[in-house]
Point group: C2
Chain length 196, copies 2
Amino acid sequence: MATAAGVRPRGAGRAQLHEVALRLFARDGVEGTSLQDIADDMGVSKAAIYYHYKTKDELVLGVIAPLVDQLCEIVRDARQYRGRQARVEAVINGMVRLALDSHSWFTVVLVDPYVVRLLPELPGLRQAWDQLGEQVIGPDGDNLMAVALLVFVTGLAGSISKPPLDALDNAQLRGYLTECGRRLLKVRRRSAPHAG
Amino acid sequence: MATAAGVRPRGAGRAQLHEVALRLFARDGVEGTSLQDIADDMGVSKAAIYYHYKTKDELVLGVIAPLVDQLCEIVRDARQYRGRQARVEAVINGMVRLALDSHSWFTVVLVDPYVVRLLPELPGLRQAWDQLGEQVIGPDGDNLMAVALLVFVTGLAGSISKPPLDALDNAQLRGYLTECGRRLLKVRRRSAPHAG
DNA sequence: GTCTATAGAAGGATAGAC
DNA sequence: GTCTATCCTTCTATAGAC
């Protein structure tokens, strides 16, 4: 009735399902979240979920799929700039914003082993990630930059969900995380790291 | 018979159990690893595991407990140096070595939601972590350093387990990860991050 | 789009033999 | 220290009513 009368927007049920599932996946892990947990949180029955998705795997994929668009937008934005340093800066800003706005996506995709196993079924995500890597690493395939990028994004995912950072307000945290990105991804003139 | 004759060292069964469990926990997550999975990998029955630990939770705690000693040793080592920069350097080297030598521990403890929920039952780990933080962050409680440390260690945990880094040999990877630590945890003279 | 009821598999845990 | 057999719970998934 709600859908027919238009009281709820079309697909509100699915949107709420996505929201709840993502939140619980990020908190307890995908394997640690049963469909019963999700149904309880939504206040519906388990079977209601199966109306939207035939299997749990498809639910997981449906939940994380929107992340691809977010990554593509960061890549599009970065490409508007000329020069590696400017593009790197754009990637840093985009990733920090994404991590703060959608930290659940971040955590689930980068951290959850269940999701990692499913990733081959989302080739768009892999592709978006590769394009993002190109902006930072450059065409010469700088290994240090590749490592630093990985440390940065997984560090973002891991750190934002940890308690000691809850005390900081969002603006402060954004500043600190951005500074971390700048330090890690500073473009070098020559290929030797200044060995200590 | 093996134990009585001394063919196998004492506690070899338990040591193998730890090794197998940790490896599977790191690969599939704790919730994604059943006692059956562990038993199959060891070539024994599920019930054999219950001889060593009464519950799965105790198994998990038993597996990650040795990490506490590793962290304490890093703290002890760092304290031998005078001056923050030298101590920070010692922490970086210790954490990189630990991440490379025992990346499974790292991944499981920093990444797995099931383990995070159990951590309050390992107060020694929390204590060791706090002491390690003191070496890096300093007595003034520098927020940027606190964030950078968290990004660094979770970045270590997240990056070493990802495929693109498998191509690098260990010495190279160690150099890159150490450089990441130096960049992130460079001690500042004054308290303002050089805002861009 | 949501429900109840249930099938079928897998998980944690225990008992008791060897 | 390991085994087989078993118990109970929870999980994914399906069938069919409303």
